[in-house]
Symmetry: C2
């Protein structure tokens, strides 16, 4: 691993634990094993490191979207929906699990939680990618379930979207507040709770 990659990794690690402001270049350099001025051979400024990490996040999200677009394009999967509603029914909870399957992802979430108030670009990203877009997806999801009479007609898809999504967000917040390094046991517990939530909510609203 070259020095620039080390700087990147160490910075992500420290920023996600303490926040951008509280981490000094000296601290990063020490952890990497160089002097702080050497950082400027790789990055033009401290802010540039943060933005490099942020670009990485952005790409990661776009990559995930690309991967998922096949399975989660709700319109394209209408046939599956009509032929095998039960299978489609739990696609949501699987997607949610996948979202947090990597510890790295949770580290990124924590960084976003800590950093969004400081940096306008990151705040906007959080607002759009973490809050708004997922809610839109779930709303569409429940709308289709409703249209196809899989869930009860008195259900409000917009409400259900938030019912569905607020739970994992709460779990993430819980984890981020509780741990500096997220233990594996906590992740498994997280999955189980998310799964239980998905089953509960879907059972509540489905026809029959």
């Amino acid at each position: 691993m070259n020095t620039k990659e080390k700087i990147f990794d160490v910075s992500l690690e420290l920023f996600s634990k303490k926040g951008y402001d509280s981490v000094s270049l000296r601290e990063i350099a020490e952890e990497v094993g160089i002097k702080k001025s050497s950082i400027y051979s790789h990055y033009s400024s401290k802010e540039a490191i943060l933005m490099d990490i942020f670009d990485y996040l952005t790409n990661l999200f776009e990559y995930d979207e690309m991967l998922n677009s096949k399975d989660l394009d709700l319109n394209a999967n209408n046939e599956i929906l009509l032929q095998n509603p039960e299978k489609f029914y739990h696609k949501g909870s699987e997607a949610m699990k996948e979202m947090f399957s990597q510890e790295k992802n949770l580290k990124i979430w924590k960084l976003l939680f800590i950093q969004m108030h400081h940096n306008e670009v990151i705040r906007k990203f959080f607002q759009d990618e973490i809050l708004a877009k997922p809610i839109m997806f779930w709303e569409e999801f429940f709308t289709i379930l409703k249209e196809n009479n899989i869930i009860r007609q008195e259900c409000n898809p917009k409400l259900l979207a938030k019912e569905y999504y607020s739970f994992p967000i709460y779990l993430i917040l819980e984890i981020c507040v509780e741990y500096e390094d997220i233990p594996q046991s906590s992740l498994e517990d997280f999955f189980n709770q998310a799964e239980e939530h998905a089953n509960f909510l879907l059972d509540c609203v489905k026809v029959n």
Copy 2:
């Protein structure tokens, strides 16, 4: 209003917008209308201001708990529960609404959200008072409803507690991310959504 109170108010305002680290004494002093060194006639350090604000929060929470203890002592209200289950049934949603009835309270939430990663004392407070204790309350709430056969026997009170509480937490997060100053219209929307959520969840689990 005396100078110390001004410093307090200005600091709460600025800290909740930008976070403790990003606010300088110079900035606070300018807003108050004095020089930064004069702050030390009222507070021994910058940290002392934050801790003064934090003490205020702590008292506010204790005061709320005292006020609510009469109505929300679940054991003491068992009679009401048995005589008039419907009334008790919605006590929860009312308590939830009350929790955010003041704009000041939301400002405090925002401060906690921003600041909890920086300061260990505040992190602990957030973890206990904002996350753990309310969940314990709701778990007890749903346990009693279950014992008295008001909600279905297959319900898991611990899960329901999080189902119930994660929704308003999500709403608060949404508001904190979206606004510097929280507009009245957004607060009303908040109440309506919280109410809709409470009705939805309680309808889902009640017997009949």
